[in-house]
Symmetry: C2
Amino acid sequence: MSRSCERLQEFHDQISTDLKRTVKFWVENSHDLEKDGFFNCLGKDGKVYDTTKNTWLQGRQIWTYSTLIRHVPEVFGTEKDKILDFVEKSAKFLIYKVKDRETNRCPFSTTPTGLAIKYQRSIYTEIFFTMAMIELYSVTNNDLYKEEGLKMLDKIIYWTQEDDTELGRTVLPGTTPIQTLAVPMVVLSLGLLPLPEDRMTKYREIEEKCVKDIMKHIQRNGKVILENVSPDGTELPGSIGRLMNPGHAIECGWFLLEYAKKSGNSELKQIALDKFIMGAFESGWDAKHQGLFYFLDVDGWSPTQLEWDMKLWWPHTEALIAFLMAYDQTQDKKYLDLFEKVFDYCYQHFVDKENGEWFGYLNRQGDVTHTFKGGPWKGCFHVPRCLMMCQLILKKLLKKETDT
Amino acid sequence: MSRSCERLQEFHDQISTDLKRTVKFWVENSHDLEKDGFFNCLGKDGKVYDTTKNTWLQGRQIWTYSTLIRHVPEVFGTEKDKILDFVEKSAKFLIYKVKDRETNRCPFSTTPTGLAIKYQRSIYTEIFFTMAMIELYSVTNNDLYKEEGLKMLDKIIYWTQEDDTELGRTVLPGTTPIQTLAVPMVVLSLGLLPLPEDRMTKYREIEEKCVKDIMKHIQRNGKVILENVSPDGTELPGSIGRLMNPGHAIECGWFLLEYAKKSGNSELKQIALDKFIMGAFESGWDAKHQGLFYFLDVDGWSPTQLEWDMKLWWPHTEALIAFLMAYDQTQDKKYLDLFEKVFDYCYQHFVDKENGEWFGYLNRQGDVTHTFKGGPWKGCFHVPRCLMMCQLILKKLLKKETDT
């Protein structure tokens, strides 16, 4: 028996404590009690250093709180009802203040009152809006959120499967059509939401299409996952075509594992395990300094992204989920050993036991380079989602141990 | 007499050798002899790793070659006429293939044949187009380049002083009007071009307006240069308002020094020296690991840019120019001592004596993180411009020494 098996209880306890500490951090520091919604630019100890609201993170925090209420309500203690009340207010802030009622689009960033500062030519704000609404519906049964969520889901299906003109992208004479891994991934992930049953059945077709699109990113004779490919699944020339984002591929891996389980597709399960989770981890792990690189070039050129060799929090949270889920689904110890490896790296480098939440950005050597806990791209999402999911799986594994 | 004074000859010789080596690197590796223009994504030894052409760098390389031909033609040796011929071909590539004849706008990036891939909502490609044309006109006397350069100059004046609608920026309800330091800086720098005399006189008014705008970036009781301010010169809230870019302020400093000299404005000269060059250097220099930080937050928060603590080549080339120019204009040894400090850092960390050119990106500790010599943002510009300008000033200083 490898050592990692003996540490299940320790993993569970550390993670449970961390989840409580992390939730406390966001509850105490991020709520805009005056205008609703959340401040997402928070310093090390929670102080607001910028009042801009980033819509990705507004939607994600509503989703996170709702899913915590659904699965581990105890993390909010006696505050649960008060929190849910604030989540509803924040959802209404998104619906009535942030979303453009005419176009159904959500700006990327807004003022504290919800006035649009900037739009992205992509669907991510709308994805997180949908996740927020559907998850909140499942804990409130309030039809407003269901309607808002499903209406946006329909728009996302339209933009991604039929016509993306409304996203404002201009096709120029030299533009090469690109399929990013992100789009089919996030659209697939919407199928993990507690959708109404009739919609779930209807969504299966979209999920299958997404899986087919995701498979196009397996390149070089099945050896690597590339972040961008042509819509017909061939490798693109230049840096953009050679780009790998190991954390993203690993996250995609556990999305696929979930879907394979749901759809009973054992072949897909194996692809998720071998190509997306193990393959990306093996190429993405820094043998010299530990931790997952942010970007890599499949041919070993320097990626043009300046931050390529940094260690970001989210590839590591996704790796924790992926390895624990893989272990749970296969009972293969190698996955638990890798979970242990990532766990130890995270708890040595990212976790702030004093103030809660994780630092988000380390240099290649593993030193914290950015002291904030929340920023334009980091909110209340990856860390609590990871801790909640891992806690639930660990609880199940520990129960199985006791039962046998 | 401080040691830096004894090293003038050494500085001159190192820099002259480096300039020759750098020019050789670009001449041997970047020319697209088939379609004209330049490949700007070049690996350590000059191998092309991406054939995308970035228009900033196309214009900049034409400017650089032209200015080298004007001031130090010997760096091209016997190849000079052949090079000039290729520069003209590349200028025509920009005029007839890259520029949109209808809108007068230049895309940010193109295919090797010049088909537009992407546009930026800013004026930088057009700035470098103008620099290319006017500088090339001065070494060819070909009216085509003069006309193209002046036509674009008029558009830039229109976009920056009257109406920027054509740049495609959308003003949203939450958008705060922002003045970036970059815009008045680059528009001012066009006055350093060898413009026809009547245009030079006419341009004086624009230059004065730019200087006035640049002064708005001096904030916090004259203590710091902020990268973004409101159009009326007050500090903006949040991270964007607190942002400092030391290398940019230093580069702006030598632009101002040049203009102060040209316009005989001794008060402006002092501001350039104290606030822009010395002030930005003192706040931007990393006392722990040496080198200039890329970004800083004036209140000591972590900048939200992931690359804030990296050491980029161009802030250092601009510091070399600024300190040597400051020494030349003031005879104050403190500037030469700082030139020496930056010189030693550069020649220990950035310079590639084996292959020519400089590495562009180091981590905070000073290790090379990106091995390429050219990328989407790094072409044939900052290094050769710096080496040429420093060589000319050093030659002058050495001559003065011999004469006395």
